[in-house]
């Protein structure tokens, strides 16, 4: 018995001419499914392409044009192309400063928010009366509107009537109130050594850790509840202490989700605009690249330079992610 079945039965079907080749009217299940899939996805795709993909492509075009905001009503899409914007990006010291700040802010912000999230998740792991409410509190910084919480932080840190400086001067005996959000740096001496402490940058980093640790807390908690209790019970019977149980049982289970969180948080922090803009306006040594782009766009109206910087920012991110995936890709696969 021959077992040769042609994969495309069209025309040469073994059952003869009456059988079903794909004619224009008759669609196979797979074809109908593909059609339905494309139709259902079309609205989303249109919006995404229109509002995300086209603008990104356009940014690339704009980055090579000398275009001012006041010109846009008169000029077409294709103007004179120039490399000035890109060379301008790399030759301006402001950009390197902003990029360094961005990197520092992203690395510290990512690490602290995930670390704090892990600590919170571990502390809230065992059940206690009122845990659900405490969990709700943990998520408040993340869900509350950014404008409201930055405003509250500004007020709390206000040198004149902010509660932090009030407590600092009256309880901890600070000689002067600290201008947390407007002071670039201050000298601090620890053990006889003088340090330059970037006050405002540390403050926005603290805000970032405070606002985004709930995100890490959520994901880590979700993963932790999925760890079977038997694993830890077995380790306990084997005589493992709490730190050993964490190190050898829980931590390996959390690693994939922490790797994923690192990527997500790093991307979001790297691109962050709202928090810093609202807290310091990018002043006092906190100007990250996205704030700088905003300033170029609105204050100077320099669309070309703004686009070029946005482009370079994305490229730097893509390169960093590429490096990360090379080393941690395996953990991400698991997550």
């Amino acid at each position: 018995m021959t077992r040769f079945i042609p994969t495309r039965p069209a025309g040469r079907s073994p059952t003869g001419p009456s059988s079903t080749g794909p004619s224009p009217r008759v669609r196979t299940l797979a074809q109908r499914e593909a059609r339905a899939g494309r139709t259902l996805l079309a609205p989303t795709l249109v919006v995404i392409v229109l509002v995300i993909v086209v603008p990104i492509a356009w940014t690339i075009v704009l980055a090579f044009q000398d275009l001012r905001l006041i010109d846009i009503r008169r000029r077409g899409l294709m103007g004179d192309f120039t490399l000035d914007n890109l060379t301008g990006v790399f030759s301006s010291p402001g950009f390197y400063n902003a990029l360094t700040t961005t990197l520092l802010y992203s690395v510290v912000g990512t690490a602290t928010s995930i670390g704090l999230g892990l600590v919170a998740a571990l502390a809230l792991r065992g059940w206690f009366r009122g845990r659900a409410v405490v969990r709700g509190f943990m998520l408040l910084p993340f869900v509350a509107p950014v404008v409201a919480v930055t405003f509250v932080w500004q007020t709390m840190l206000n040198p004149q009537f902010g509660i932090i400086n009030e407590i600092g001067t009256s309880v901890f005996g600070w000689t002067n109130p600290i201008a947390f959000l407007t002071q670039r740096s201050t000298e601090v001496s620890i053990l006889g050594l003088e340090f330059d402490v970037p006050v405002a940058l540390l403050t926005v980093m603290a805000f970032q850790a405070w606002r985004y640790f709930p995100f890490a807390f959520l994901f880590i908690t979700a993963r932790m509840t999925a760890i079977p209790a038997e694993l830890e019970e077995a380790a306990r019977i084997d005589g493992a202490t709490p730190t050993q149980r964490f190190r050898y049982v829980i931590w390996p289970q959390l690693l994939p989700v922490i790797a994923l969180l690192t990527v997500l948080r790093f991307i979001f922090t790297f691109n962050e605009f709202d928090d810093i803009y609202l807290l310091t306006g990018g002043g006092a040594g906190t100007q990250v690249v996205s704030v700088r782009i905003y300033d170029l766009l609105t204050a100077r109206g320099d669309i070309g330079a703004a686009s070029a910087q946005a482009l370079v920012l994305s490229l730097v991110l893509v390169i960093l992610l590429g490096i990360y995936f090379r080393f941690f890709g395996r953990h991400l696969q698991d997550a």
């Binding site: 077992r3 039965p9 079907s13 008759v26 299940l29």
Partner: protein, 363 residues
């Protein structure tokens, strides 16, 4: 009510070389219940799903009545299906589950309720109409799934292992209820199962599939008495038929020290092959001395099932050759383990298959 016909139907899953169903030809009469049976992966479910319209047909045609439905959407086929996991809609009450197809078809509310009640009465579900599926027992869920199928009065019923989620006892009673219901409604039914007892009891005819290829379609009795090939012989019947490779001698085949005589017609079909496969059902072996070929068997295990007992042992075929053998014996005089017994084979009840093709040679 309708006939169903598969004509040279094939299905190859994307990324697979071997077709899941290979040129299936099967005609099902109006009102008939045909059971598709075979080991897992034999293509029985794929065959059913192609008829349902849930799976593409790569070659061949499927017709219901005189309509070619090969490429019709499931909703246009006028069929009803009972799924293995029942697929009850968890957010709908029992009544809504049963009446859903009618609602989609635009049947008015009063008429719908009347038919739902009728079906519910038939299946003894009247008390449960307002419940949600999760509040039902396994057997009740199964009946709701049946109700959903019968309320539509479709041309064809499709049943995909509808009993496999029930416990053994419930399965037996539900089996007979479904069979009775099917006969009463007289709706053409295709029933898929991997359980050969279910197949033999439910089907007007049984189609045995293996490796995507239809092996034999026949009434249950015939399938048991005249299996078309080695696969069907080994698949149908429990415990399975003993299949022993034996040499051909001038007037029969040699089994141990004896010769099993074969009739002329069979002998002619052996066609000078040096060996054939001899099939002996467990009940064709006797421990009591009788006329006929004998086997010397070392007892390894005796399974006592009350009315019957089965002996599992090793039979010597001479010159260092041995074969495992199963025989049905009288439980009241069961031998002990490691005893040597003589089994007499009823030579009128043996089956002969080709050693090369596996096809049946005896008539």
């Amino acid at each position: 009510m309708s006939t169903v016909s598969y004509d040279g139907v094939s299905r190859t899953y994307p990324g697979n070389d071997r077709p899941a169903v290979d040129r299936l030809d099967l005609q099902i009469d109006d009102g008939e219940c045909v059971v598709l049976v075979g080991p897992s992966g034999c293509g029985k479910s794929t065959s059913l799903r192609m008829l349902a319209g849930l799976e593409d047909v790569d070659a061949g045609t499927i017709t219901i009545g005189d309509r070619d439905v090969t490429h019709l959407a499931p909703k246009d086929r006028d069929i009803a299906m009972v799924f293995q996991n029942y697929a009850l809609y968890p957010h709908m009450s029992v009544a809504d589950n049963i009446g859903f197809a009618l609602k989609v078809a635009g049947v008015g509310k009063a008429e719908r309720m009347r038919r739902v009640r009728e079906a519910a009465t038939m299946l003894d579900l009247q008390e449960l109409l307002d419940r949600k599926p999760r509040a039902l027992s396994g057997g009740q869920r199964q009946r709701v799934a049946m109700g959903r199928a019968i309320v539509r009065e479709p041309q064809v019923f499709l049943m995909d292992e509808p009993l496999s989620n029930l416990d053994a006892k419930l399965r037996v009673s539900t089996r007979s209820q479904i069979a009775a219901l099917q006969r009463r409604l007289g709706i053409t039914t295709i029933y898929v199962t991997h359980d050969q007892v279910e197949a033999m009891t439910m089907g007007d005819r049984v189609a045995v599939l293996n490796g995507g290829v239809l092996q034999q379609v026949d009434i249950p009795r015939q399938l048991y008495d005249k299996p078309a090939n080695v696969f069907v012989a080994g698949f149908v019947g429990s415990p399975a038929m003993n299949l022993i490779r034996v040499p051909v001698v001038p007037d029969g085949v040699r089994l141990g020290d004896h010769v099993v005589p074969l009739d002329r017609a069979t002998f002619a079909r052996i066609d000078h092959n040096p060996e054939v496969i001899l099939g002996i059902r467990p009940e064709s072996c006797r421990t009591t001395p009788q006329d006929g070929p004998e086997l010397h068997v070392r007892v390894e295990l005796v399974e006592e099932l009350g009315a019957d007992a089965y002996l599992y042992g090793t039979a010597a075929l001479g010159s260092d050759r041995h074969t495992d053998i199963v025989a049905r014996i009288d439980p009241r005089c069961a031998p002990v383990t490691n005893a040597m017994v003589r089994l007499t084979v009823d030579s009128t009840q043996v089956h002969v298959f080709s050693a090369s093709s596996g096809q049946r040679l005896s008539s």
